[in-house]
């Protein structure tokens, strides 16, 4: 199935409307819905958050665009509200965190396998192994603080094992900046991949920065501080992969195209019928927004949007377990680090990374403290020591 995004008109902006009940509608079920439903909600909340974030930055730099940006942004904000409010209130912040890390692993692993640029593909694999380790650390926290098993959320789609140790992920800022794709030659897939993953990582960062301080447990607070710092690195890492010479309008168009692509992906695979309806509705909204931005571009006379957009979208993001790929990547690429814009064996570690880590870890590493000797076990690690009673 393909989608001709240049000609699909979608819903015009004037008909993209909401009510409060709409936006705060009933959530999905943490217990009954598929883990990939949660992942889709997390991803689309991230994509909408990025749309709003970008739109504000763009408005601050482009007076002529402020009104059209405000018009689209208000809708994006309400879309984000409606998507994010699908998260159920019995899903604790720590449980939602598990969903964030699972989303980061599974979606980034898919993107890494569908990235035509080998340099960028390696960068996705590199980041993915770091999020993989975060899942393990948070799993240990959930088990040891609350006595709960993360697999109730993961639903066996994702392994819980150490990745590249979080304590080794801290790098000097200059070593997190990558080389960008060339906007003139890069494929649509490359551009959509980058924007999707930077959206996801930015939202993870913002979420941890918001919920980290609500934990009373001092190790939990430190762990969120530590992993939020890595997510900040990941935003630096992924955003530097995008061509900085793209104009503001080009970037706006790409944002809309990314939203179309990701909603289109969700709509095709959603198992919850209510959410499927929301994804379809918002796909139509995004097509309308894309048309609107194409009109803004034409009036600005700087670009021909037809030339910037592909005839049809790349294949949809596949929401399914990437276990085999993740295991293979873990086996081959865990002992890597980044120096400058390149990923290199950890034997070639840069002194600036070592110095940076030594300072941060001077009084201990939260990710090491929480997961010392931790081995995920069905029913929590307590199950291993709770002897059979009969």
């Amino acid at each position: 199935m393909t989608l001709d995004i240049r000609n699909e008109k979608g819903v015009p902006l004037a008909r993209q409307v909401f009510t409060w009940r709409d936006m705060a509608g009933p959530p999905y079920s943490k217990l009954d819905d598929d883990a990939f439903t949660r992942i889709r909600v997390i991803l689309m909340n991230a994509v909408e958050a990025e749309a709003v974030r970008f739109s504000h930055a763009c408005a601050r730099m482009n007076q002529d665009l402020q009104i059209p940006l405000a018009q689209v942004r208000r809708i994006e904000h309400h879309q984000q509200t409606m998507v994010n409010w699908l998260n159920p209130p019995d899903q604790s912040p720590l449980e939602t965190t598990i969903g964030f890390e699972q989303a980061a692993i599974e979606v980034t692993a898919w993107v890494a396998q569908h990235e035509p640029n080998p340099y960028l593909a390696q960068m996705y694999r590199f980041g993915m192994l770091e999020d993989f380790d975060h899942l393990y650390r948070f799993a240990a926290l959930m088990d040891r603080m609350s006595g709960k098993d993360v697999n109730d959320l993961l639903q066996s789609y994702t392994d819980v094992r150490p990745g590249r140790p979080t304590a080794l992920e801290h790098r000097a800022p200059a070593n997190d900046v990558r080389n960008p794709y060339d906007g003139h030659t890069a494929t649509a897939q490359t551009k959509l991949n980058a924007l999707t993953i930077v959206s996801a990582e930015h939202q993870v960062h913002d979420y941890y920065m918001n919920i980290g301080p609500i934990f009373a447990d001092p190790v939990a607070r430190m762990l969120y501080a530590e992993i939020a710092s890595i997510e900040e690195q990941h935003v630096t890492h992924y955003e530097s992969m995008m061509d900085p010479t793209e104009t503001w309008l080009e970037k706006w168009l790409l944002h809309e195209a990314t939203e179309v692509w990701t909603y289109w992906s969700c709509a095709q695979q959603e198992s919850n019928t209510v959410l499927k309806g929301i994804w379809e509705r918002f796909l139509d909204y995004e097509l309308g927004q894309l048309q609107f931005v194409m009109g803004v571009m034409r009036r600005a006379g700087l670009h021909d949007p037809e030339e910037l957009l592909p005839h049809s979208l790349p294949e949809p993001v596949k929401f399914e377990s990437q276990r085999d790929f993740v295991r293979k990547t873990l086996a081959n690429e865990v002992e890597l680090t980044a120096v400058g814009a390149m990923v290199v064996p950890s034997t070639q570690e840069d002194q600036s990374n070592i110095d940076y880590r030594d300072q941060l870890d001077a009084l201990g590493s939260p990710s090491e403290i929480i997961a010392a000797q931790y081995v995920w076990t069905p029913g929590t690690e307590l199950d291993r020591i709770a002897h059979a009673t009969h």
Partner: protein, 220 residues
């Protein structure tokens, strides 16, 4: 355009709109989740309510182990008070909770159900327990405050074991009913211990004697 409501003199206490709105939502809402279908959790033929409650106990006892571990940390950080718990007291209760977990886990397995699945009652019970996890793991909370949090857990735990043992009786699960009453007996001891530790701590903080005066001591 609506004018802002004048609230300078205070208005009548009217929560009617608020309640009516919530009522509409409550009538339309789906539950947090259903029991997993047959072939996953429920192979047993037992009423799902029984398995749901067993799932809740599994989750609660496991969390209880973690709460007592946190309480042990708090005890170590606190000045010892006469009449308060010792480390050994708390370790003993923690180990009881772990044994209770294993007992219900094994019961669930014998009934052909999956003890690792989160049942709806387990989920809601964990939501209730979030505040306890917060109090017990907060470096600023006092030992007494933590004991009060544990008291909440023990009170709920006691009632839950009564219910579960009665349910097992009704379902002619005699072995389980016997085991559950055994656990209840231990939980009753935990509850009395926690109550006495709180009473001793509060009396001490109020500058009173460790034990309350007996009724005959007050007689003229």
């Amino acid at each position: 355009m609506k004018k802002p409501t004048d609230i300078s003199n205070g208005g009548p206490l009217d929560g009617g709109h608020y309640a009516a709105e919530k009522l509409a939502w409550a009538r339309d809402a789906d539950p947090v989740g259903a029991m997993p279908p047959r072939g996953t959790v429920n192979e047993s033929g037992e009423p799902t309510v029984f398995l749901d409650r067993l799932g809740e106990r599994i989750a609660f006892e496991r969390s209880g182990v973690r709460l007592y571990e946190a309480l042990i940390v708090k005890l170590e950080a606190s000045d010892r008070q006469q009449g308060g718990p010792t480390r050994e007291d708390l370790e003993h209760i923690r180990d009881d909770e772990l044994r209770h977990y294993a007992m219900v886990r094994d019961a669930m397995r014998r009934l052909g159900a999956d003890p690792t699945a989160m049942t709806p009652s387990a989920d809601v019970s964990a939501v209730m327990g979030l505040g306890l996890v917060q109090v017990l793991n907060d470096p600023r909370s006092t030992l007494t405050q933590c004991l009060e949090a544990i008291l909440v857990a023990e009170l709920v735990d006691n009632d839950a074991w009564v219910l579960l043992a009665d349910l097992a009786d009704e379902l002619r699960q005699d072995d389980l009913a016997r085991d559950f009453r055994g656990a209840l007996g231990q939980e009753e001891v935990h509850l009395e211990q926690v109550r006495s530790w709180i009473a001793a701590a509060v009396r001490d903080q109020a500058g009173l004697g460790r034990t309350p005066p007996q009724p005959d001591a007050r007689a003229p």
